[in-house]
Symmetry: C2
């Protein structure tokens, strides 16, 4: 990856000595695209980001974890601007070229003295191999850092895409996940970058759910600094870029769901045969968000009754006597009928895996969709009952 | 209560010797009203009930727990009809005057030999004091029987209303709760009974959530046998009946939420100042169903950030800088601003109670609504991970 540097440090924002401040820096201003949460309660970093992205340029992003700087009023917005200003000064670039992102507890003021102290060290430790440090510094309840990289050549030359994301609660993104950052050294126009990012998000972050709550800070940024010299020469090249971006974002999405709060299993529900595309998505989304489905999966129970009940309440057109439902490749329900104890036993075997594929065919149309989700364990409750204490 | 008899027995449908078969019987055919689930996957008892309620008459309702007789195809419908036929025969009345309801596991065939054996005993043990036995026989994961009674006099005379309900998972009713039965010895026209029942449900069962899942078997029945001789003479009397019915159903709703799977606290969220009635309901419903809000309440954490975040993603118009939020009578957020550590400490005290009132004023309109819900504990996960095993 040419011309990008990363860093992550402990600035004392979190109570323990955990890393909590990160930066992405491009040696020259990069073309920038972004998508933000659709929650109407948005954090100041999102307000600032929405404004600054209009220029289509960005050279650095400063991210803190441990504090979402959300619901912090006028002071919160001033703090976000101040953070960008501090970074701009340390980097010797215009503060308008700096974006900020925050994740963590909602409602507490950002400890600016700690950020002020931390920024110089953050800038000093930047290097081209700092991706892992950056990915670690942006985590909250996540257990693992989430990085995904693809290298590729198009007619114009070789380039790299690297994505970094964090989960792992309040995850039912609407436009973007909690926080994700994609950088590439490709030379690509801003409008195309934005369009590709939107498409890729619809096929990744907008198809995952940990707990059905959409965050106030959801943001995904894409920076392209063109330093690889690779350019997209024709529509085949554009398709290739889209394919790669899709792969990176989908890989990050899987990592987020696998590391969902308390999650023990990664589940994909594929819906087929819906009357409309909207119906297909409704069914997939409702199954993915049903607490009863999620607890049954945690209990390794092929509880198909809860899955068809969720489909039935989704608002989509469903004809119960036409439903086919598979656990992995085991057909447990055919044309609305349970296939008996042997099939159930086989399905129970499938449920013991770490990754489970469910396929629900409504058999009344030609549209399909899917969702990635995780199961629901006692640990989710523990994590979220104790989060602020 | 004149002219109604009840009974509950153990017929061996559940694995242990728990009670699992109940009956309500009216000495003469009662005027009947009912509301059923809006889930598109509906159980055969609901299919049968929708058909039979058209006559506006009902003399007996047979209810089994331990098996929902849902997703059981043509055999399931035949089994529901057969159950009504067996009861009709034992009671010496037309089978068309018998309704059936089932609750329990979805997808397993109803054990008809056990129902056939049980019905004669069920009929033999009926008596006017059998409400508690009936209320116990219809429970699944519920911990307590749920009965509510009101006595009243109108100009036409005295009458009684008794309601019985069961919860306690797959509770986010849409038209009616899991199962509820209301009987009165009042003389009331069927159309008025139906209208009153609909209104009362909108103010009770349609405002509660345990886990956001709408059941396939939700049904609420109201029977009025007129045996008290009391009649409604004018609109004041009708209002009085409505008031009483509201009270009974609201009381049952509270009992259902308190006994929600794994619940430790009963919470009421009241929304005020919304731009439209729909917005008020959306906000109340979204807060009531947020897993993050529910786990925070379990942890006795006045996590107002999660409440405003839920409001923000509800789809309703929300202006963050105008929000007021109270825990009990403690104003923790005013005009979008956190009121500091002392207020937070007081709010934390409120969270230690068994019953918690939250009031969220959007301050942008004049409409309000509310929802009753419970917290979310590790026990909910345990109960639902192990339900079928």
């Amino acid at each position: 990856m040419k011309g990008f540097k990363f860093s992550g440090i402990s600035a004392g924002i979190k109570a323990d000595d955990a890393m909590d401040l990160g930066i992405i820096y491009s040696e020259r201003p990069a073309r920038a695209a972004a998508l933000f949460t659709q929650n109407q309660v948005v954090a100041p970093p999102v307000i600032l980001g929405r404004e600054r992205i209009k220029t289509g340029l960005c050279q650095a992003i400063v991210v803190n974890s441990g504090n979402a700087n959300c619901f912090t009023g006028a002071k919160g917005l001033a703090d976000a601007e101040k953070t960008a200003e501090l970074a701009g000064k340390a980097l010797g670039i215009a503060p308008e070229l700096v974006m900020v992102s925050s994740t963590g507890v909602i409602g507490a003021p950002l400890p600016m003295e700690k950020i002020e102290q931390g920024v110089p060290e953050l800038v000093r430790t930047m290097n081209s191999d700092g991706t892992e440090a950056f990915a670690t510094a942006i985590l909250t309840t996540d257990l693992t850092a989430k990085v995904s990289t693809r290298r590729c050549s198009v007619k114009g030359g070789e380039f790299t895409i690297t994505g970094v994301a964090k989960g792992s609660g309040m995850i039912k993104p609407n436009m973007a996940t909690m926080l994700a950052f994609v950088v590439t050294d490709l030379d690509i126009p801003t409008t195309l970058l934005q369009a590709c990012l939107k498409k890729a998000c619809d096929r990744s972050f907008n198809r995952i759910s940990v707990d059905g709550d959409t965050s106030t800070n959801d943001s995904v940024f894409a920076l392209a600094n063109g330093m690889s010299q690779a350019v997209l020469e024709d529509s085949d090249d554009s398709l290739e870029f889209q394919r790669l971006l899709d792969e990176v974002l989908l890989d990050l999405s899987e990592k987020i769901v696998k590391d969902g709060e308390g999650a023990t299993k990664l589940v994909k529900i594929t819906v087929k045969g819906a009357k409309t595309p909207e119906d297909a998505l409704k069914v997939a989304e409702t199954v993915a968000q049903s607490n009863l489905v999620k607890t049954a999966i945690y209990g390794e129970d092929p509880n198909w009754g809860r899955i068809v009940a969720a489909a039935g309440r989704s608002g989509a057109l469903v004809e119960p006597e036409k439903l086919d439902l598979k656990f992995g490749d085991v057909a447990l329900v055919k044309a609305g009928e349970w296939q008996g104890k042997d099939a159930e036993k086989e399905a129970a075997g499938i449920m013991k895996g770490d990754e489970i594929e469910l396929t629900l065919d409504l058999n009344i149309g030609e549209y399909g969709d899917w969702y990635l989700f995780c199961d629901f364990s006692e640990n989710y409750v523990k994590i979220n009952a104790d989060y602020r204490s």
